[in-house]
Structure formats: C-alpha cells, structure tokens
Amino acid sequence: MHTFFQPLVVPLQARGNMGSMAFLKGMLFSPIFFVPLLWIVSHKPIVAIAVGLLVPVVPLLFIYWVTLINYVHLQLPATNAHLLPRIKHRLFVGLLLGWLGISFIATILFALAHWLGGIELSETDDGLQKVALFWLISSGLMTYFVFFIRNKLAAAIIWCTFIYSQKFELLVLPDLSWQVYLLCLGQIAIALGYFFRVTHPNNKRVVTLHKQFANQAQWAKGERARYRTPLLAAIDTLNQYLYLFFMRHRINTNKPTLYFGLGPLIHWSSGFPIFLIALAIIVGMKLTGLTGIFATNDIHEFINIGFFSAAWGLPFSIITNSMNAIERTKKEQRLMYLLPNQNQTSNTNRTLFRYVIKNNAISFFMFSSLFVLAKFFLDLSKAEWLAFIIFCALPLYTLILRDFRHSAFNNSKLLIPILFYILIMIISFSAIMYWNLSVWGWNFGLVLVSLILFSNRWNSIMDAPPVLPADCP
C-alpha cells in the first residue's frame, strides 16, 4: 500500500534541499490573496471564495500528474524496458487520477466562468451538455500538454483543425456540432493509443523512445537535439549560417560588450526564417485573396489562425528559450565577469543581459511588424481573434512544456511557472469576459508579464541583485 501511494505522495514532499516548504506554504495560503481579488472582480462572494480556494489546487494537481508521468519516464530508458509492469500500473492510476482531477477542476472553472459572465446555466437547454463537453475538451487538452510533449506536431495539427472546424469561441459555446464530438473522441483515442504505446514497447519503439528522451534532455539544456531528422538539420544549418553571418561581422566591429552571442538556436536570427515564411504567407494570402485562387473562406481562416499562432508565439518562445540558453551559458557569464574594461557601472555582469534584451527586442519588433501587417492586410473575425488569443498564450505554454525530469522533486521549480501560467490564464479569461479588454491590450499585457518573468528568472540565474526595481538608476 505504501509503495503504491509513494509516487503519488512524493511529488508533494518538500524535504531538505528538494523543494521549498516556504513556497508550498505560500501556494496553499494564496487564497488569502486570490479571494479578495476575485471578489473585487466578480462582486460575487461565493464565486470568489470558491474559485480562490480552488486556485492552488489546480497547479498542485497538475504537478502531481506531471511529476508522476515524468517520474515514470525516468525509469523508462531503453535498457530498462523490462521494468515496465510496475510502471504500467502506476502510470495508469496516475493518468486516471490526474485526468479526472484536472478535468473536474476545469469544469468547475468553466461553470464559474459562466457565473462570472453572468450567464445562468439553467437558461440554456443544453447547459449541462456543454459542461460535460467542456469537461471532455479540457481534459483532452491536459492530455496534450503532458503526453504530447513528445508529439507536439500531432497536437498542433489537431488543435488547428479543431479551431478551424468550429469558429470556436472559448467558454461561450454557441452550438457544438458533431464535428466536435468526433474530435473529442479522436483525442481520447489518441491519448489512449499513446498510453498503450508507451506502456507496451517493442524494440523499435524502445529505440525511438530512447532517441526522444535524448533529444528532450538536450533541448532542456538549450542544446541541439542529438538525433536529428533531415528537416531539423536543414533548419539548424540555415540558422547557423545566418547567426554566424551576424556574429562574424560583430567580431570585426570590435565592440565586444554589445555583441556577446547566445547559442545559434536561440539568437533572434533563429526566428528570422520563420519571419520570412510568415511574410511570404501574408503576401501569398493577399495575392490569393485578390486573385481568388482559393475560393473557400475556411482555408483562408485556417491559414490565418494557424500561421498567426506560430508567428506570434515565436518571440515569446525565443524569450523562454533564452532563459534556457542563459542557464546553459551561466559558466560563460561567470568567466565574462573576469574580463576587464567592460565599462560596467554595476557590480555584476550585465553584458549578456543587455544583449539579450536587445536580442529579444529585435525579435519582438520583427514580429510585431508582422502582426501590424496582418491587422491591416487581413481581416480576421472576432472568433478568429479569440482563437488567436489562445494561441498567443501558446508561448507561455512553454513554461510548462519543459523537461520536468530535472526538477521532478523540486517543487518550487515546478510550481513557479505553472502558477504563473494559471494566473495568466485566469486573468486572461477575466479580461475577455469581464473587463472586455481589447485584444491588443491583452496581448501586450502578455508581453509585459513575459518580460517580468524573464527579468526575475534572469536575476536568479545570475545570482545577482534584482533588476527591478532596486537597480533602476
């Protein structure tokens, strides 16, 4: 019995140097902060209390599940496949509990969102049906976020198709057609299929798994994948050339303090090919629209949405990737600290920080220009914009879509990004539904949040005094 519960209990154990009891306590006492906030927002005390109390539970449940899954994966290297029987059992239980728990929470959130929005559930006939459906959808989503960490492309395609087929307005479901049901069933089927694939490996599968794990480990360190498909290799090479081109010229201009580089995959020029592709698509779409080559609006919308989510999400992905790169280059920064004549006014090495800000500012403006172009050249409907918003949050998903193996037993490392993510989502939904913030406003809010997160993370990585606000001149 004890060994059965152990993997369920272990993730929450904060002991010794494996996690922060203080943070855990903070999490559990966070309702003190959330309840009043939601009260102010919703003017509904019961709602405020209920949601506020629930907020810490969501990430905790998520942690449980993610840690469990990854704890299991830790024991699943190719050579240890024979250990599977034990793991299957735990994984199954973990999956069930996690899925139930998280979808339950999501359902409650959904129902509460209706209250927040002032819509009574009894008003509509199929209110409960909607709730149930939403339960399924959100649980499916959670399945993606964990299981499909290793199969993002499939998840992305399904998600895009979902959006495309529905003109989906999140939380306010007009009519749900049979397509949605089909899709949800498809999700479940895929999740189960994946589950059985993982737990019943054959030799080939074991080798593939091994390669995937190796790649994940490399990416978590901000390095390249060890086993690369030809496409990945081609993108790599393109990035490399662009990056080296810029690097070489910088070295020649002999301004070292400004041009310290990050790894080739993390530099703003790594987003440059995508910028070019996006630009091409914008122009292409405008042309097709003008010439009427593609008649159907559906495809038009699909391309809009799909493209924008990729394009807009990129700068933030770069930011979060930069965090990883910074982590990786910590030692280099330390070495940089010993370099004289850097005209530093503060007592830590800000060279990289300045560069990264520059780097990301360039990325941000590069993609903002795309965004502006799209705004003026393409007409997106409100629904599309809403779907777009969700995709905008995609890059923040990278906060949770990371290799948790390294922090499987360190609660603070797990909880911080998840907490922020949940916070952002709650605030976003409130903004859409209650404050009626404009899309632009909301997006830039996201930018601000990302930057704050980034700055905080940077400080802890550099082991330096905080950037904001004490260091401001």
């Binding site: 010794g16 070489r248 002999n254 070292p256 010993l338 004289p340 850097q342």
Partner: protein, 285 residues
C-alpha cells in the same frame, strides 16, 4: 612583505540550505604555488569561484588583491587568469574568434605565446570549438588563461581530460613560463603526482573549511602513520587524525618534530612514512 593576494575570512556559502563552505579562512601569499585538495563534492570549485567573486558569498569577506572580489577593478581583472572546470564554453565561436574576442579585452596579450601554444598543441584555428575534442578544448581554456600573462592563475581541474604527455607538457609550460614570473598559482586537481611536482604548498578542503595548509615537503617529511595499542599510544603535539582500526589498535596520523620522532623510534613504535595519496584519503575523510 607584500599583502596576501587572496584573503578569505569567515566565508560562508550555502546552496538551498546545503552549506558548502563553513567559516572558511584562507590566505595566499603572492608567488605561492598552492594545490587545493578535496573530495568530489567538497566544494573546491565553489571555493575557487567564491574566491574570484564569480559567486556571491553569504557571509564573511573575500578579498582579491586587496579588493573585494565582488567589485574588482579593471586593473585587477587584467591580472587574473582562470581555467574553469568546464571546457565546453563559447562553443559557437571558432578558436580564432574566441581568442580575438578575449584579446579585445586585455591590454597585455602575448600573441606570440598564444600562437606557439596553438601550434604546439595542435589546435585548429578555424574550427568551431564545439567540434574540438575534449582535450583540445581543455588546452584552449588553458591558452586563454595564460595569454594575458596574469599575476594570479586559478585552475580548476585544468588537465582532467589530458593524457599523461599532455599533462607533462602543461606542467612544463607552467614551470617555464608561469612560475618563472612568480605568478601565484592556485589549482585544484585529483592528479596527485602532478601536484607533487608543482605545488609548494597544499591545502585540504574538508567539511567546508581549509583543514590543513602546509608546505608540501614538510608535510611529506614530517607526517607519519603510527599504529599501536590504543591504550599505550602516546599523545603528540600535532595529531592530524586518530582512529580505531580494531578492538585494541588505533592508527594515528601525526606531524612529528625531530625530538618526537627520536622518542617514537626509541619506544619502538610502528612508524610508517606516508605518501600524498594516503594523506589525502585520511585528511579528507
């Protein structure tokens, strides 16, 4: 009498409630060549990083060339060379780019020496550092640290990935160039034979403190191991360790003065001279 190059007083450093350095005191005089010994995980790298100001310390003071290590002046920085344990740094540079980059910071840079070492150690100049072998990367780190002829050279396991001839070559380089110029050298290594050849002093890091710091020759000459009956073993002035090896027998590690040695021999105690490896094991237990 010149002021000490390194002065650490009551330094405390911990990571996530795990304390690594505890009330550590260390003084290093200019011109000394000192080896830092300690078990894996004892905190040698951390100590060296704190010494150079690359890591903040929780309590205490860390002075480098008389300045606080957190606020080093450019003049001091020009005089410090550091070879970190990780040689996989700046991997996206080519060898030449990396050296040019570093050269742009240092006013004093011995390009002739750099070229000599590059050709002697056979390091390709136009290849990405990520594509070099581990041994080449490590050698490159060493070149980078030596190029600006620092007054203080800090080496953190600089030759761990080099074969014996590579190590011998590195030692020669240290002897003929670095030590000749009375550079202060602090290095941590597990390769005790190298340490014995080069170091004039050794410091043992154990339990978060510098447990012992002595000139190496003295240590080897005066330290002996004595095994005898627990009951009849006398006490000595400078005992390094005493432990029970069986029900009645104990093993003692002592630094003997001449008179104590004579007396011990007179008492026909079982005395064994001890080598650096055994010393290391005993003192860092």
């Amino acid at each position: 009498m010149k002021p000490p190059i390194v002065e650490l007083n009551s330094v405390f450093k911990s990571f996530d409630q795990h304390s690594v350095l505890r009330d550590l005191n260390w003084r290093i005089e200019p011109g000394s060549v000192i080896g830092l010994l300690g078990r894996n995980g004892a905190g040698k790298s951390t100590l060296l990083e704190c010494l150079l100001g690359l890591r903040g310390i929780d309590r205490g003071s860390n002075l480098l060339f008389g300045e606080s290590a957190q606020h080093l002046s450019s003049a001091t920085q020009e005089n410090i060379g550091y070879v970190p344990q990780q040689s996989d740094l700046f991997e996206w540079f080519t060898t030449q780019q990396m050296l040019s980059y570093f050269q742009s910071f240092y006013p004093r840079w011995n390009q002739a020496k750099v070229e000599q070492l590059i050709s002697r150690w056979d390091i390709p100049t136009n290849r990405l550092i990520s594509k070099l072998s581990v041994g080449q990367k490590q050698r490159l780190s060493i070149i980078r640290a030596l190029a600006h002829q620092p007054a203080l050279l800090v080496l953190d396991e600089p030759v761990a990935s080099l074969d014996p001839s590579g190590r011998r070559d590195f030692l020669r380089e240290l002897i003929t160039d670095v030590i000749e110029r009375e550079t202060t050298v602090i290095f941590s290594t597990h390769i005790l034979s190298d340490l014995e050849r080069i170091a004039m002093e050794v410091a043992f890091l154990n339990d978060g403190r510098i447990k012992l710091q002595e000139p190496l020759d003295n240590l080897l000459e005066n330290t002996v191991r004595i095994i005898g009956d627990t009951a009849s073993l006398p006490t000595f002035a400078k005992e390094l360790s005493r432990k029970q090896i069986s029900a009645q027998q104990s093993s003692l590690l002592v630094q003997l003065t001449a008179s104590e040695l004579a007396q011990a021999q007179h008492n026909a105690l079982n005395i064994d001279a001890i080598g650096l490896e055994d010393l290391f094991i005993e003192l860092t237990a």
